[in-house]
């Protein structure tokens, strides 16, 4: 029992500590988005037709190295600035799932299996497009922020940046802590031999790995190294683990909920989970 408590403490502390610097970076960037970049620029770049905006935003995300804790606050501010929700979300999902650092890490983890890197890229890109397209088609909108701050508009530019960053940080930091606590609890509670017991059929394996990705809530930069260690699982399930994780996990769901409201978060979560599994299965069948 005391072992479990020790392990929980270490995992929890590690996940919080790992996330905080990236969250800080995210709220600074999102504050800059909110305050420094004039509205017209965003309108001009992204507020065009959604058919163009979703793939364009996904491409933008793919070249900008951002991790989950960084991009969700940015997407929140982008939406606030009038960028279509579907496009802002495509950017937020693509950046952690597709950026070059993640692909390099995947290549390093799967040395000698370049097809895994290609499969990850293609399947993740497909997932982002699926989620973006559905969000656009369904016309999903985030809940209006209860606290559209009057004081955001007051004072000097640096003061407004600080106020916006402070607002975003206090609204997400607690959720990062909660996400870490839940993920650590599930990690400790999972029986050791769960993987061996479930590693049987492809369907069960893919679903297991998808659920594991959600509960483990790893950063996209490091998940490939964990994925590669699941040697008893078929490659297609390992791929599913890496495609689902950056799109939807416990910590992300909490952040989606606080940034966009429960309904939008549930939609993104469901679309992301199902979309990622379908994309990983199809791409995995073809490429692996």
């Amino acid at each position: 029992m005391s072992n479990a408590v020790d392990e929980w403490s270490t995992l929890f502390t590690a996940m919080v500590l790992q996330a905080l610097p990236f969250l800080v970076l995210g709220v600074l960037l999102s504050a800059a988005v909110a305050v420094l970049v004039p509205l017209q620029v965003w309108r001009w770049i992204l507020a065009r037709r959604t058919v163009v905006a979703v793939p364009a935003a996904a491409m933008c995300g793919a070249v900008v190295p951002g991790c989950e804790c960084t991009t969700v606050p940015i997407a929140g501010r982008l939406t606030e600035r009038g960028v279509p929700f579907a496009a802002a979300m495509s950017f937020a999902l693509a950046s952690p799932a597709l950026n070059p650092i993640v692909l390099l890490a995947t290549a390093a983890a799967f040395a000698g299996q370049p097809s895994m890197v290609v499969a990850r890229f293609v399947a993740s890109f497909l997932t982002v497009l699926i989620v973006g397209a559905y969000l656009a088609a369904l016309g999903v909108q985030p809940a209006p922020r209860r606290s559209t701050h009057d004081h955001d508009a007051e004072g000097s530019t640096p003061a407004r940046v600080v106020a916006a960053a402070r607002h975003d940080f206090t609204h997400t930091a607690g959720l990062v802590v909660l996400g870490a606590a839940v993920a650590a609890t599930i990690r400790v509670a999972l029986p050791d031999d769960l993987l061996e017991r479930l590693g049987g059929s492809d369907v069960v394996a893919v679903l297991t790995m998808a659920v594991l990705a959600v509960v483990m809530a790893l950063c996209s930069e490091s998940d490939a190294f964990v994925a590669v260690s699941f040697v008893t699982f078929p490659p297609i399930a390992v791929l599913a683990f890496m495609v689902v994780g950056p799109i939807v996990d416990l910590r992300l769901l909490l952040m989606y909920r606080s940034t966009f409201g429960s309904r939008a978060a549930a939609t993104i979560g469901a679309l992301g989970f199902v979309g990622a599994i379908i994309a990983a299965t199809v791409v995995g069948r073809v490429l692996l």
Binding site: Q18, G174, R187
Partner: protein
């Protein structure tokens, strides 16, 4: 609270405590991010008044502060439920050169082995057992890790992290030899020679010492 959180991040990074949770490359980002959080906190205090509504969830940050400054959990231990196939070792295999003095011969004395040992980790041991089986016999090896009694098949455990302890891979090296008086999780430095196994290479022990928990408890991606 923001000031406390930022302060805790700086303290944990500056004292090296953070190495028990995240990789060393995070030290500077932690200090910088901590400074930003302190600044955000101070700006809030100075601004004062107004309608400053922090959400209820922000109170959870207090728990994180308590863990960083008061609970200060230790690094992952062998009892951690992170279970992986021994084949994980093949993922961290790494090339290395065998210096001439480490080749002490298969009948070398314990003192000889200790004096000339080459420090390796489980990934390097795996590499050598696969790629250099002929030249690797008779090489004196030193390894560092935690003792795991493992129900009578004792082994040395070391974790390799990518970003943080949550993504740790468990690397194991079977140990053969007398290992009395050790408790699960004790940090030990072991000296010996490769046992000839190529699937899960282990060490035939010549000697071992209990050591303090090292400053860098985890191997990182740069090591392995």
């Amino acid at each position: 609270m923001l000031v406390l959180l930022g302060g805790a991040m700086i303290v944990v990074a500056a004292t090296g405590d953070s190495l028990q949770y995240v990789r060393e490359a995070m030290t500077l980002p932690l200090i910088l991010a901590g400074a930003v959080v302190v600044m955000l906190g101070l700006a809030g205090l100075r601004g004062g008044g107004g309608h400053r509504h922090t959400p209820r969830s922000f109170a959870l940050v207090g728990i994180a502060i308590a863990f960083l400054l008061v609970v200060r959990p230790g690094p992952l231990s062998v009892a951690a439920g992170v279970t992986y196939d021994p084949a994980v070792q093949s993922r961290v295999q790494q090339f290395f050169e065998i210096p001439r003095e480490a080749v002490v011969g298969e009948n070398a004395s314990a003192a000889d082995i200790e004096a000339n040992a080459l420090e390796l980790h489980a990934g390097q041991l795996w590499y050598a057992s696969q790629q250099l089986p002929d030249s690797f016999a008779g090489v004196a090896v030193r390894m560092l890790g935690q003792f795991d009694p493992n129900d009578g098949d004792p082994q040395l455990v070391r974790f390799r992290i990518t970003c943080c302890a949550a993504d740790a891979l468990r690397l194991v090296t079977p140990l053969s030899g007398e290992l009395d008086g050790l408790a699960e999780g004790d940090w030990i430095e072991v000296f010996g020679q490769w046992d000839g196994d190529t699937t899960t290479p282990g060490l035939d022990l010549a000697s071992w010492h209990v050591v303090e928990t090292p400053d860098h408890p985890y191997l990182t991606i740069r090591d392995a």
